[in-house]
């Protein structure tokens, strides 16, 4: 009798908590890892659910998802990869949304190299300009577009070095090996302030928006906790965190429509 009561007691201990607190894993592009840690901590404190984060470059995460990585949702650094996962029927199109809008910054670790107009680019008084690889990183594409708009894409070429992703580009500048770099504002902002050096926020008119999309993967489709997280993301707490990292939020109301469009467009060139 007492043994049965003990077993019953053990069940009582585990079952209700297991039913309430859930666990899920998010694959997060490296440039969004730090904000996501803050967001996940808030969400965990609020709901009691557990959020696991797996971070890496979007291309690497995409390849891992295609080969069965145990992720429930994907926060990419671009819009292409989530849409392609939808087209491959590995993700649910109706959950696709733009979670952040990146801002490009011309940055130097020297306190006085970059002025308020970014004219150092035109005077050419620098040795190395670091940008992210435009073939791989959305910030790299934006950097090349900005240089084109400024009319110095060609002339700056000889002095350009490329980071594989935006965090490596940041490293090149932070260690002083490149005196200038086009990096993400989110990398420089801590508690709403520039952490060090000098910077010029590149006007949004000089490059196409750097939109980052997220999508729920097949494995996470039935998770109520993940659905809760999706709702939580548009709330004021998350928006505040995003802003403090220099992201401008962009929640397109027509997300379902966008997903449908992406599905049609992508279906044609899937391997």
């Amino acid at each position: 009798m007492s043994a049965l009561a003990l077993v019953g007691g053990l069940f009582a201990l585990f079952i209700p908590t297991a039913a309430r607190a859930e666990e899920f894993t998010l694959a997060v592009a490296s440039n969004f890892t730090t904000p996501m840690q803050a967001i996940a901590a808030k969400f965990e404190a609020r709901t009691g659910h557990k959020v696991n984060l797996a971070s890496g470059s979007s291309g690497k995460l995409f390849a891992q998802i295609r080969h069965g990585a145990p992720f429930d949702a994907f926060f990419s650094a671009d819009q292409v990869k989530p849409s392609r996962l939808v087209a491959l029927e590995l993700a649910k199109g109706s959950t696709l949304f733009t979670y952040a809008n990146g801002t490009l910054v011309l940055w130097s670790s020297h306190a006085d190299l970059v002025d308020g107009q970014g004219s150092v680019l035109n005077t050419g008084r620098y040795k190395k300009l670091a940008i992210a690889n435009p073939r791989l990183a959305p910030y790299g594409i934006a950097a090349v577009e900005a240089l084109q708009s400024l009319g110095i894409e060609q002339s700056s070429r000889a002095r350009r070095v490329q980071g594989e992703n935006i965090s490596q580009t940041y490293q090149f500048v932070a260690t002083g090996n490149a005196d200038l770099g086009l990096v993400a504002l989110s990398q420089l902002m801590r508690n709403g302030r520039l952490s060090r050096g000098s910077a010029w926020i590149v006007p949004q008119s000089l490059y196409r928006p750097i939109r980052q999309d997220a999508v729920i993967l097949n494995r996470g489709v039935d998770s109520p906790a993940l659905a809760e997280f999706w709702a939580f993301f548009s709330g004021p707490e998350v928006q505040e965190i995003l802003a403090s990292f220099g992201y401008t939020a962009d929640f397109s109301p027509e997300k379902a429509e966008k997903a449908e469009k992406a599905e049609k467009a992508e279906k044609s060139h899937v391997e």
């Binding site: 291309g59 791989l136 490329q162 980071g163 594989e164």
Partner: protein
Amino acid sequence: MLSDTDWGAIWLTLRLATTVTALLLLLGTPLALWLANTRSALRGPVSALVALPLVLPPTVLGFYLLIFMGPNGPMGQFTQALGLGTLPFTFWGLVIASLLYSLPFVVQPIQNAIESQGPRPAEVAATLRSSPWDTFWHVTLPLAKPGILTAAVLGFAHTVGEFGVVLMIGGNIPGETRVVSVQIYDHVEALEYTQAHWLSASMIVFSFAVLLSLYLLQQRKSAVGLRYGA
């Protein structure tokens, strides 16, 4: 199949691996000789330093090299004082990083080959009035030949396959620092899997051919040696 940039990366990789292997044999052989013979208290610490790149993750090693060779690092200050500028993002920056990274793969086989000879051959040569220099060239080195060949193959292969360090201090500049491993990674990250497959396949075939021919050469040499000996 292979694009022009792929070929550029292949050529650059071969240039890098050849340069690094040659320099490592030049620098690594005296170091191995010293390590094999010395009774100095420095033997332990130096051996540990040589083996360190085996343990450190390449990206970490690369990150510290970036600081060390950068404008504020000690080596960066030195190269700038010499009027050479800084080394990251240049071919010679890659060479130096690869030298460090591949060092244990060259020093250890040579050291083992010299140690396994024991003191006997050098002692015999000395009783025949051979100078230390002569003994090194005509006794120690020829006897250590298989170890040196192994060292060359490992040093070369390891430099060809190097990725993390190069990614960190290279800056991905075509013709200057974009080696094959980085080019393959680029293709994978850009979701261009077909090009990645082609380049990887050529790298595997090439590496296999180089390793096979060197091992066959080594085998035939030792077979010849045996015949003469018998």
